[in-house]
């Protein structure tokens, strides 16, 4: 399904701020995999995500989805295959446009726009049902501007948008990190429902070890630009946070020091 092979990425090469963000990173996903990704600050989690969706091109290595080599594709072209939810709830939706308009744009992610009417009434029933499934009372607010919604509501709408046009791959980049704990739990529940019901191949970055263990069928830990832990199936199910810390020490050769990861 997704094949990331020996990817390297260095930011600001040759300068004082040079940062080798990815060093020989490889990751293969099987169809239907739901992978949670953890790692300390600067481990390369977001860089990995951004290389997959094409925010920038990688220095070396290749990325293929379903056998199609997308290594050199621009971001908007990859969007045909990839649904995305950003960490910042403001990033995934157009605030000045109606919920309906946002959903309509997302519904045609995998094809070129035409001169057809952007938000025809015929889609409305479908949109309403999808919004109702979120359980946030948004089904009667199709004509509200997205800017009027709360961060959690916007993130839930973005999640709908990302999964609407059947993505081959769903990328979630700490999409609950900016929300309050209660809203975060709700958005996570919606995420889990959508992903497991529709068996979407998904990568979810999280800074919360417990979420990383509770969700998905596979867990990956990044450290220093490559993967140091990769567990799946039964082994992952039985894993606990202390186990994970021990595994990290063994793999990285030092103690876990990321406060953010430990405190959550």
């Amino acid at each position: 399904m997704l094949k990331v092979e020996h990817v390297f990425k260095t930011f600001n090469p040759g300068t004082i701020t040079e940062k080798k963000a990815l060093k020989d990173l490889s990751l293969h996903l099987a169809p239907g995999d739901f992978v949670t990704v953890i790692g300390g600050n600067g481990a390369g989690k977001s860089t990995m995500m951004n290389s997959i969706c094409g925010t920038f091109l990688v220095d070396k290595g290749s990325i293929t989805i379903d056998g199609v080599d997308i290594t050199h594709w621009p971001e908007h072209r990859r969007a045909k295959f990839i649904g995305r939810v950003f960490q910042d709830p403001m990033m995934g939706t157009a605030a000045g446009m109606q919920i309906e308009e946002n959903l309509a744009i997302a519904a045609r992610r995998n094809r070129r726009p035409t001169f057809a009417w952007s938000a025809p009434g015929s889609q409305r029933e479908r949109f309403r049902e999808m919004l109702a499934s979120l359980g946030l009372g948004l089904e009667n607010r199709l004509e509200s501007k997205v800017g009027l919604l709360s961060g959690g509501q916007r993130q839930a709408v973005t999640l709908l948008m990302a999964t609407m046009a059947e993505p081959k791959l769903l990328l979630l980049d700490e999409h609950t990190a900016a929300l309050d704990p209660k809203t975060a739990a709700k958005v996570l529940e919606i995420t889990n429902n959508i992903v497991t019901e529709r068996k979407l191949t998904t990568i979810m970055i999280t800074h919360n070890m417990r979420d990383a263990l509770a969700l998905g069928n596979r867990l990956v830990m990044l450290h220093d630009g490559h993967i140091i832990i990769d567990v799946a199936g039964e082994e992952k199910k039985n894993l606990t946070v202390p186990d994970l810390l021990k595994m990290f020490e063994k793999a990285a050769g030092r103690e876990m020091t990321s406060d953010r990861l430990l405190l959550s």
Binding site: P74, E75, R77, T114, S118
Partner: protein, 295 residues
Amino acid sequence: MNIVDLVVPTIAQGLLWSILALGVFLTYRVLDIADLTVEGSFPLGAAVAASMLTSGYDPYVSIVVAAFAGMLAGVVTGILTTKLKIPALLAGILTMIALYSVNLRIMGKANLSLLRVDTIFSLASFISDNRSMVALVVGLVAVALVVVANYWFFGTEIGAAIRATGNNPNMIRANGIDTDATVILGLLLSNALVAVSGALIGQDNGFADVGMGTGTIVIGLASVIVGEVLFGTRNFMNWLISVVLGSIAYRVVIAIVLQMGMPPNDLKLFTAVLVAIALVMPLIKKKLKADREVA
């Protein structure tokens, strides 16, 4: 002076200039770019139309060709800012400066008179004996066409992609749209409107002048902002009409201050101050509101 003699030309001017304001609206509001190409594409439209008219072409054709010339100018700025990554403001300035020379080449000199040739207004002179009334009717028809076309276009899938680009480029890229293409397309449409406005104003004035673009961006901004404040932005149609009414309101204000005895040479200073005040209005409002909440 007869009040009608004052009102009709003022409204006519407002309508003809409102097409420029709509062009500025497309970049400044829809795309969220301050595009200075306007100051070059406005005289470009006038220059193209004027040199075609003096060569004996049909006035309608001259306006269509002026629109295409404006599109070209918009595409140049668009490519400079997207593909070549020059900041939009600077890209617009570069095109504007380049167009100064281009416009001189098109006209062959700095000023072309249209007094002895047929214009779109002389063709429409059957409407009324009053020249200003003719300009008003022609302006009204042109503005109606432009507003309806814009309303339709920005309701389509492609138009929605352009609106979303101005709103949140990250969102629209994540939804499969090439924002380079939408920015170029938006600049193309905007400058086409500006050039058409230039072509109309040139024909109405009876001449095209290489310097007639100076300050047009500020006039456009003044119309957009005044229109928004006075007539609202409830939905896209309302917004478009507000910009048109804003352009008329701006002309009314100018007519009034001139009647009150302000020297015409101070007009640009006055406009700049007007726009500056309108631009800080939201800030002042916010501050007043915050102060009230504290008190």
